[in-house]
């Protein structure tokens, strides 16, 4: 019988059925960070348990690390205590820790792929909802809670029910100035922030076939913002090429065996799906959010919605969002003054994001009064950027070039909005208070749109600011 990748991976990792009907599922790769794991280790100690498969858990530190301070102790004693706790837990239980001193530290969803730990046909879990990112490799990545981290540490398994699979097929071409970020913002806008509840999203079609691994990661990353716990792309030559030679990728004869095995996990041609959605690449505009969840998005050319003209069921949520965002109802979003530009995060903090922006940023200056920060997603990304001189391009334009971490995506480190500042952000969430100020405001967009906002001081169309319409479609 023809099967989807999700079904094949699930079956290969299913241990047995539990008494409540769920499946005991083997999770081959467990990633941990400093925020959601310390309590899990505490629970493990309380129960007198050990880590069952220490060689299958990998740790890094990302959420709380300052991006402008390398030396410890950190100014924030709470941040330092979380750092210390993670070090202690990894040492005591024999877990590999990509600490800052290793040169391999970074956002957990950037480090896993970069090290070649993320591989096709595997199950991956992390106490972080953006674990869906790893699906770009044809892995099944689950975001989990802390009690489940305990379960994984103790048994390398967790209790899960199966998901339905929705194939989202994007064919055709993306227009100039339209990026992977726009694709996922458009998908979430179209299907809703809870449209994916109960589903794994399988992304496919000509646009995904052409996408690089980093573009696939950007899309899979935000699956959870559409309610889908899991998002994936079937593995292909692009996937294998990315993985070959990375530190944890198989070598020699084991490489050939692995590639053959990985290919076998891809969805079969005749597989049946619980749902299929088709989108034309040409129909996707540069998309920005105007509200307080990632589904409240519009094309850069559209107007902010107004309560009066909204469908009855949406009036209350539109009114709440408009009140918080202080944007003019019914008016264009283009031209809205911004205070901060943030370039980074597990969504758009990879090498290609910085390369693309640097191409257009060269010779431009951040507008007066705008605070702009560029935060590479990992130490590895930072080094590659420096080798290409990108750090200088950003710095010369007026961006602060920082060290690796989650930074202002969720502002658990010192990078925070102040008061009701408006931030043009390449991150993934525009929730109330998300960027560190209870009244701070976020507009999500692609990295190049962030650059366009930074240099004009306003929400702007990157195609106009950087004269993109002339370049060829990608």
């Amino acid at each position: 019988m023809a099967k989807t990748l999700f079904q094949k991976v699930w079956e290969a990792h299913a241990v047995r059925q539990l008494s409540n009907g769920q499946t005991q599922l083997f999770i081959g790769t467990h990633l941990i960070h400093e925020v959601t794991s310390p309590q899990a280790f505490g629970m493990l100690r309380d129960l007198g348990l050990k880590v069952a498969y220490p060689h299958r858990t990998f740790a890094t530190v990302d959420h709380i690390v300052p991006t402008d301070q390398v030396t410890e102790p950190y100014a924030d004693p709470l941040a330092q205590s979380m750092m210390d706790e993670l070090r202690k837990n990894c040492r005591e239980f024999g877990i590999t820790f990509f600490d800052r001193s290793t040169g391999k530290q970074g956002i957990v969803h950037i480090v896993g792929p970069e090290q070649g730990i993320t591989q096709p046909g595997t199950t991956i879990a992390c106490g972080d909802s953006h674990t869906s990112t790893h699906g770009a490799f044809g892995a099944i990545g689950f975001g989990i809670g802390t009690t489940q981290i305990r379960d994984l540490l103790a048994t390398q398994t967790m209790a899960m029910g199966p998901l339905k699979v929705r194939r989202i097929q994007v064919d055709g071409k993306l227009l100039p100035g339209v990026y992977a970020k726009d694709v996922i913002l458009h998908i979430i806008r179209t299907l809703g922030v809870n449209g994916g509840t109960g589903y794994a999203y399988e992304y496919a079609g000509e646009v995904f076939d052409r996408f690089t691994m980093e573009e696939r990661m950007t899309v899979c990353n935000m699956s959870i913002e559409g309610g889908a716990r899991v998002g994936y792309v079937n593995p292909d030559e692009t996937t294998f090429k990315y993985l070959q030679g990375r530190p944890y990728a198989p070598k020699g004869a084991a490489w050939d065996e692995a590639v053959a095995r990985w290919k076998s996990y891809a969805s079969d041609a005749g597989a049946t799906y619980d749902d299929v959605v088709k989108i034309r690449g040409e129909d996707i505009p540069p998309t920005v959010t105007w509200g307080i969840n990632p589904g409240q998005g519009i094309s850069i050319d559209e107007n902010v919605p107004a309560v009066e003209t909204a469908p009855a069921a949406e009036k209350a949520s539109i009114a709440e969002a408009l009140e918080y965002m202080k944007l003019p109802a019914g008016q264009p979003i283009k031209g809205t003054k911004i205070d901060v530009a943030f370039m980074g995060s597990c969504t758009n903090g990879r090498l290609s994001d910085f390369v693309e922006v640097a191409k257009f940023l060269k010779g431009r200056k951040v507008a007066p009064g705008v605070k702009a920060i560029a935060v590479p997603g990992s130490q590895g990304v930072a080094v590659l950027c420096q080798e290409l001189g990108l750090d200088k391009v950003f710095a010369e334009a007026g961006f602060e070039w920082r060290g690796a971490g989650c930074s202002m995506c969720l502002a658990m480190n010192p990078d925070k909005l102040v008061g009701d500042q408006l931030c043009a952000s390449s991150s993934n969430r525009n929730f109330k208070g998300r960027q560190g100020s209870p009244t701070g405001r976020t507009i999500l967009m692609s990295p190049l749109m962030v650059a366009a906002a930074a240099v004009t001081g306003r929400v702007a169309d990157a195609r106009e600011v950087f004269e993109l319409r002339k370049s060829a479609a990608t």
């Binding site: 409540n20 005991q24 909802s129 975001g143 967790m158 209790a159 922030v193």
Partner: protein, 200 residues
């Protein structure tokens, strides 16, 4: 591991209106700078409940008539966003033992169930009727019957939905799966050996 059989949650309820209430709103990220879950209850809904100086804002949880409520009522897609278990931990430590909403985000639902917090989904009309009843009488006793998967208050009986596996686990006192997962060790080892990337 012996766990309580959770067959019902009974008590007063409070309605926190709104759809898509995310876990950043339930507990802002800055309160996750901790290495235990102790004391998280006081930060529940912090930024919508309190001003920067700690003084209260207008919020249902700040109204004295709702003090001591054990059931939280809200809108669609409750608990979306971050997977932080700090959110259900804060809800539990504040004193809530059950949540009734139009629908729940996937990860949040699982995190709640593992802590023994039943999450019932009800229709919009039923939620609005319950909210109106609570506004009229904040002392109203509400029952979440986990065995029958229904909500009762006054003379009303509302049909709710609860995922089968969650219902079974709560009622049987097996909502935390760790005991059963540990029991599976021999079968787990077998699967581990069958996976090339795990066996090495």
């Amino acid at each position: 591991m012996a766990l309580a059989k959770i067959t019902e949650v009974r008590g007063r309820a409070v309605h926190v209106p709104g759809d898509d209430i995310d876990t950043d709103r339930i507990i802002p990220a800055r309160f996750m700078k901790c290495i235990t879950f102790d004391g998280l209850g006081e930060y529940l809904f912090f930024d919508v409940r309190k001003h920067a100086d700690g003084s209260p804002k207008a919020h249902p949880l700040n109204e004295p008539q709702h003090a001591g409520a054990t059931i939280l009522v809200s809108g669609a897609n409750f608990g979306c966003g971050s997977s932080r278990e700090h959110a259900p931990q804060a809800i539990y430590r504040y004193g809530f033992r059950g949540v009734i909403a139009e629908s729940f985000a996937e990860i949040f639902f699982g995190n709640c169930t593992t802590l023994g917090i039943p999450c019932f989904s009800v229709s919009r009309a039923d939620r609005e009727a319950l909210a109106a009843a609570l506004a009229a009488d904040p002392k109203l006793e509400v029952v979440m019957d986990v065995a029958k998967v229904e909500v009762r208050y006054g003379s009303k009986v509302i049909k709710a939905t609860l995922r089968d596996s969650a219902q079974k686990g709560l009622v049987a006192g097996q909502w935390d799966p760790i005991g059963e997962l540990l029991d599976g060790a021999p079968a787990v080892a077998k699967v581990g050996k069958s996976l090339a990337y795990v066996a090495g």
